[in-house]
Symmetry: C2
Subunit: 300 residues, 2 copies
């Protein structure tokens, strides 16, 4: 039904159901450091895949795990499995297969997830229409701040720092929200590469434009304490947040808010889909912000 | 329907069909060297996964590709894609999704394949029964000899050497044979870890024993030129051959041979399934050979 280019592939095994498939890899030294808590890593490896299912509105069913590890460390593996299993059980997602191999250098973790969605209800990147409202769940930029805190490039109060690092290491896939948006949203994507980068995919695949209102972008208290420049960069371009960015017709506003309540997460209206073919961020006076297109290109 | 522990997981999306899912990783420095022909690598990365589908009797449908690469080298990627696509097209197996990430060190390639099989006809490791005949497709030990030739640990005539290295680098998944064996074989596995190691999985999961007749093990002309000791080791324990090892009731012999013709590969009867719970290799006088159980354990 749908191949490469969206969050998931869609297959049609039966008359009334579609199956959504997605795969994501975490690589040591790129997506995590060797010193990471293995339980958090197990959580994140599955979370980033469940987030792709969420972005399609699919219900998780099962997953396959391919592990390439430098050595067999029982303690490490046990903690990794604990973090992985806890999230899998929370979403009733069953491990059905896998492959464990040796890696001469760093660890590589690849998970493939399979979910189901009623036929015709999958959320695609290509469904946004001019006039749709643009929505975002939760807050963005926290994972980028968490990474900066870990690396000593930023400072925050201890409780706020813990929250941001938790968001980086144990992201929450918005599975329930994605499911609740099935018949409400016109398009959706998960924010893994930054709001502007991922909105760019919706704009390109829906052949529309978008206006984002900077003042409406949801930022956590921790992020609001940061200098204006980094705040803007992390909010617009920070990756790893795994919130859902989606569009819906203006008259569906109450249904969006109801879906957010069922999804257990706040949503914010951050802008509008246009027919201009361009993606702009507007300040309070509706002037276009310079949003650093080179960073935007980099993250795509 | 079936989870971890066989060549594939089996899912039941509709009343009459099962879906088979499998994932396999190739890691640089373990499964291939950085100097490998990228087209051959693309072929092999898919072939080892198709071989898992073959071992279940499933027809390939689609696959997902997760690539972690040290750098983007257009020439390398183009050649990799050419080798991959050629095999995918041969089996009508469509790329439906993927993920490309950076790896700070070596390349890691993970493919997840999905195939279909009529309900109740999947070949499992657990179906062998005492009295069944034990069969093997093609010849085994050639890939191990190919590796030894590449590493200068063995010698062979140029034409034979080319054949063995080709078997190592571009294995042929026995997809058509697996499909033809659906209603004929009682169990099957693909030989990726060596005949004895993989037969050990059938013996364990079927709760049976097995007698292998050494003289019946199919060896290529190239392998038959090698010293007796290495010949035995590579035949029994050599990995990477991707032939099918399977069992069938004695009265199904003609159907097995007909399936082999449809599968385009020779099959050899190499032994018998017993009820002893033990796995033995017998010489021409029916004496048990010392088959190097430590190597056998190592490969499991």
């Amino acid at each position: 039904v749908l191949g490469v280019g969206d969050d998931c592939a869609l297959l049609a095994p039966s008359a009334d159901e579609h199956w959504a498939l997605s795969t994501d890899t975490l690589t040591e030294g790129v997506h995590f450091l060797p010193t990471v808590d293995p339980a958090a890593l197990g959580h994140k490896a599955l979370a980033v895949n469940l987030s792709d299912l969420a972005a399609c509105g699919a219900s998780p069913r099962c997953y396959l795990l391919a592990l390439a590890l430098p050595r067999i460390d029982e303690g490490w593996l046990g903690a990794f499995a604990t973090g992985l299993n806890a999230l899998a059980e929370l979403h009733d997602c069953v491990l059905v297969g896998g492959d464990t191999t040796r890696s001469p250098v760093g660890a590589t973790i690849t998970i493939t997830v399979l979910g189901t969605v009623p036929k015709g209800q999958a959320l695609l990147r290509s469904g946004a229409r001019p006039g749709d409202q643009l929505w975002l769940s939760g807050t963005v930029g926290d994972a980028a701040l968490g990474l900066a805190l870990q690396q000593g490039r930023a400072q925050a109060a201890p409780e706020q720092a813990r929250t941001c690092i938790e968001r980086l290491e144990r992201p929450t896939p918005r599975v329930a929200l994605g499911r609740a948006l099935r018949t409400v949203a016109t398009s959706a994507i998960d924010v893994s590469d930054g709001v502007l980068g991922d909105l760019g995919h919706i704009v390109a695949q829906s052949q529309v434009g978008a206006e984002v209102e900077w003042a409406r972008l949801p930022r956590s208290p921790a992020l609001q304490q940061q200098p204006e420049g980094v705040q803007q960069r992390w909010t617009l371009h920070g990756g790893d947040d795994y919130e859902l960015l989606f569009t819906a017709a203006p008259e569906r506003r109450e249904e969006v808010e109801s879906a957010a309540r069922r999804g257990g997460v706040q949503v914010s209206r951050i802008g509008t889909i246009t027919s201009t073919g361009r993606l702009v961020v507007l300040d309070a006076d509706r002037r276009s912000l310079d949003t650093g297109t080179s960073a935007y290109e980099h993250f795509r």
